[in-house]
């Protein structure tokens, strides 16, 4: 294994080393119950992080994912109470895609810097969630349809539905990115926007589409979370954007765009979730947990800089 491929495997090695260290520190880590918990705890944020990866590959950035998760969950729950599960899910994912579309258009048509544009929508969407729900959970009285609640708890072939969903999405979306003309267009747009343009790629359309993917996936995550929490929560999704971005960086995808893979982001997510789980099992104080997470994020960003120095 030469130096370059070793560097590329650092995220996976980090995850394994972290897991080993925690397993040595507490025998509760490797129990089936805990490992199942970790998978389920990671499921929602994995979907969000995959969406974030799309946007970053295309050269953009999306800070509004957390707010979109909350909005989608509440809209889905509300719609579900009135019109059934299918309508609820469609509404949740649809509203997420809509937020993504708005983000994409603001960035491409109005030319606003993605950081600022999605910072604005992050704040706006959160406000809309509170307006929509009156700051209370959805539904306030009553419960969501049983099959929907079951989805958040039941398993298929021993694995939670909540875990199957991101796994299936990972396979399907990885294929789209790696093998289809659309996927090549995304990578090219992120890797060299002008060069992509001069090779016939409709870069504005591609960029907007990455934001729509991100919004829609945040919508899916919102629906998943509503199932897990048995309600739509307006406070949901706090700090998701930071966790998602940290996961992308930890996984080794460059923040400038043009290079990276979805599975790498998933490894990054697991590093964050395993770290948090380990610290909880060891009852590390909350204050130290925050310090640890912050250090990990900075270390990952620094490693990203060194790796991708252009």
């Amino acid at each position: 294994m030469n130096k370059d491929s070793f560097v590329r495997q650092i995220p996976l090695i980090t995850l394994l080393a972290l897991g080993a260290a925690i397993a040595l520190a507490t025998d509760r880590f490797l129990t089936p119950l805990n490992l199942t918990n970790v998978l389920v705890q990671a499921s929602v944020i994995t979907v969000v992080a995959m969406g974030m990866t799309f946007v970053i590959l295309g050269g953009g950035f999306d800070l509004s994912v957390g707010s979109t998760v909350a909005l989608s969950g509440c809209v889905a729950a509300a719609a579900m109470m009135k019109a059934g599960i299918a309508a609820g899910v469609a509404a949740g994912v649809g509203v997420g895609a809509l937020v993504g579309l708005v983000n994409g258009l603001v960035v491409t048509v109005l030319g606003v810097n993605p950081f600022i544009a999605t910072l604005g929508s992050m704040v706006m969407v959160r406000g809309i969630v509170y307006l929509f729900t009156g700051s209370e959970q959805v539904p306030l009285d009553g419960t969501l349809p049983k099959p929907f609640l079951d989805f958040g708890v039941e398993r298929f072939l021993g694995v939670h539905y909540l875990v199957w969903l991101p796994a299936v999405l990972l396979v399907a979306l990885s294929w789209v990115l790696a093998k289809t003309p659309y996927g090549r267009g995304v990578y090219a747009t992120g890797g060299g926007r002008e060069a992509a343009f001069l090779s016939g790629i409709h870069v504005d359309r591609v960029i907007t589409s990455t934001y729509v993917w991100c919004g829609a996936l945040s919508g899916v995550a919102g629906v998943m979370l509503a199932s897990r929490l048995q309600s739509g929560q307006p406070t949901a999704g706090e700090f998701y954007e930071l966790t998602a971005i940290a996961a992308v960086v930890l996984g080794g995808t460059a923040l400038q765009g043009g290079e990276g893979k979805l599975y790498k982001t998933v490894i990054g997510v697991f590093i964050m979730v395993v770290l948090g789980n380990g610290m909880n099992l060891l009852n590390v104080s909350s204050y130290w947990q925050r310090v640890a997470v912050g250090l990990v994020i900075i270390a990952a960003a620094a490693a990203d800089q060194l790796r991708h120095r252009r």
């Binding site: 890797g191 090779s199 016939g200």
Partner: protein
Amino acid sequence: MTPILVAEDVSKHYFATQALDHVTFAIAPGEVHALVGENGAGKSTLIKVLGGICRPDSGRILLDGSEARFHAPADAFAAGIAVIAQELRVVPSLSVAENVMLGHLPTRYGAVDWERTRAAAKEALARLNLALDLDAPVGSFNFAERQSVAIARALSRRARVLILDEPTAALEDREVERLFEVIRRLKSQGVAVLYVTHRLEEIAAIADRCSVMRDGRVVAGHGRGEFGIHDLVVEMTGREIDLERPGSGETAGAVLLHDVTDERLALRERHILGLAGLLGSGTSQLLRRLFGAERGARYTLRGEEFAPLHPSQAIAAGIGMVPNERALGLVLSHSIRDNIVLPNLKRFGKGAFARMDERAIDDVVRGLIKALDIRPAVPHAVVRSLSGGNQQKVVLAKWLAGRVSVLLMDEPTQGIDIAAKTHIHRLIREFAARGNSVLFASSELHEMLSLADAVLALRDNAIQGRFDRGSGLTERVLRDAMHGQR
């Protein structure tokens, strides 16, 4: 006379390219030394090393006989070496006085002393025999005047070596004369002037010595009286220019593409058309308009109306474009294979979300790598690590894979070594010979003369004239048209 600045056995490489190969170079005080060479010969790199912009891999720089190590351009500037780049680097929004004294504004109790600033600026300009309105913003002056401000800035820092990079590229003849006067004055004041140029006829007018670079080496040095243009060109290119064998070597066929409003802009089968123009004359914009990267084009393509609004339309019509910067023609972080596929996605995958025919891609890529002799011959090699010549071949491969019939090229051999240059010229001729058409812009007039069947001279975004081979196409005629002389 002892030289003031010496580059001793200096070498430098960028990735796979050896930009400077054991170069030794010296310039004496009060000497005007011209440096010539084709694109990619190493002139820019030598200037960067002398001016402290980059560090050599090996060898040393001697200033006044002792070794100098520059960690930043500021060090070289402070030591008395000033580089006046083609882009000038003056701040348009600041005044003349402030620009001249930029970086070392005199202060009084912490605040800027504007009186001393203006006095110093006035003195520096006086050395150039020039008086400008010291308070006017520099952006309000023309290129020649801004260039004088840049030179004055160097003088205000007591520059003893002035390096001028293509100073006359954007000047009219009258202004060139003025610049020569300035140089003669500075020469008499003991300033050493290193004068990098493409314009060989200027050397006889101004230089004391001339060094020729080729492929990263200094291959010849001449004194006054030895500045014959033909000899210099042979040294620069390493071969004789064949003005007898015309452009594409073929007879032109039917018109493929022409401008509705100006019939001089007509691309024919088996025909190579050149575009000659100074910096800012509009050559790049014209090419971009033809390609749909900019609006405002109305053409006829194979008899039908053609007004491309986006490059994808031009590509679908069989047109390809090689831009004037590699970063615009390639996604540098991607592989050879990825780049070749990019404009041809539709060919290899029907529909945005369809699976692509990876086998077919592999075959096409391998074939092109072989045909164009791209090195390293590894489809997954990242394009950034390739030499300039090989990178440009990948750009060509993109369009050959798509079987375009019209190739637009902006500075096709910029930054490429001699061998690759020859190869690319051959590829262009072969492309045309197959029944296709080429329109290329180049600032190297002998490249233009050797390759083109006809040349359009451009100035201020308008075609000034068309000169066909065999009926009055000479360097002099072209220059006049580009400069606006009758």
